[in-house]
């Protein structure tokens, strides 16, 4: 087991920037993710990086504006589809 030195990689650390990003994006298998979370605790540098990247992703998700279409847009869309060749007329519901 290595020693945590702030701001530096633990000498035994096997984390890479790529693995940190895969972890925050949910791209590791469950087993890999568990192993990663154990390993990251032993390296101050990676643990810090992991927390910052995770926060950044959450920050973006919470700040970027989401749009909503009006019900009239959806009604008009259904109407247009109802007029398409091959359609039997009125769109159900």
């Amino acid at each position: 087991m290595g020693i945590r030195i702030p701001g530096r990689h633990n000498s035994n650390c096997r984390c890479t920037d790529e693995r940190v990003e895969m972890a925050i994006d949910g791209a590791l298998s469950r087993k890999e993710q568990e192993r990663f979370l154990q390993e990251v605790k032993l390296c101050a540098y990676c643990s810090d990086k992991y927390e910052r990247e995770k926060s950044f992703k959450q920050f973006l998700s919470s700040k970027v504006s989401r749009k909503a279409l009006s019900p009239s847009f959806i009604s008009s869309l259904k109407e247009k589809i109802g007029k398409q060749p091959g359609h039997h007329g009125r769109f159900m519901s």
Partner: protein
């Protein structure tokens, strides 16, 4: 015949329409214009209806619709662009490859980032080149997996990962720029 039609309408209503707002958000950030974004969403649904028989019920409707919308946007973008799109993008990558090798650390605990309005973050995102903006929107806003993004954009997973890494760094730089303009400097 009528039964097939009803089944298709059911797929459309139950599997396609629930993604309308997500598609609109994606289209809006790509086009940065509400009217164009609505046109893109409409075009997407019209195409989805036309090709509904090639869609397999219960599969990934959201990824399928996002792919249609992305293609519609790219076609429109290429028509409007004077220079071929790929040249712009490759020039841009060559420039950024020379200076982007590691993570940029952004201190989100800094009060300026906590106070930053959604509009400023949205603007920073919308200012990114379209290929970079796309991966951020798909991954960080819509939660698609690398595999799904690869299918939507039509590029290998390795390219998705490197593009996402660059895009995040570029966005952090832009946000730091905002903070600096507002009088906050890097600690």
């Amino acid at each position: 015949m009528q039964e097939n039609g009803n089944q298709e309408e059911q797929i459309f209503s139950e599997e396609f329409l629930p993604h309308a707002d997500a598609l609109y958000t994606f289209a809006y950030h790509l086009a940065y214009d509400e009217v164009r974004a609505q046109d893109l969403v409409q075009e997407t649904y019209m195409k989805a209806w036309r090709f509904i028989r090639s869609y397999q019920k219960g599969t990934n409707a959201k990824a399928w619709l996002f792919k249609i919308l992305k293609n519609a946007f790219i076609n429109e973008y290429r028509k409007k662009s004077k220079r071929p799109h790929s040249v712009d993008f490759e020039d841009f990558l060559a420039y950024h490859d020379s200076e982007d090798s590691s993570y940029k650390d952004l201190d989100l605990n800094n009060e300026i980032f906590q106070d930053m309005m959604g509009d400023e973050v949205t603007k920073a995102l919308n200012d990114l080149p379209v290929n970079f903006k796309t991966v951020i929107l798909l991954c960080d806003i819509e939660g698609f997996t690398y595999e799904e993004m690869s299918a939507i954009i039509g590029i290998p997973i390795g390219t998705i990962r490197s593009r996402l890494h660059r895009a995040r760094n570029m966005l952090k730089e832009a946000l730091e720029g905002y903070a600096a303009n507002l009088g906050y400097t890097k600690s």
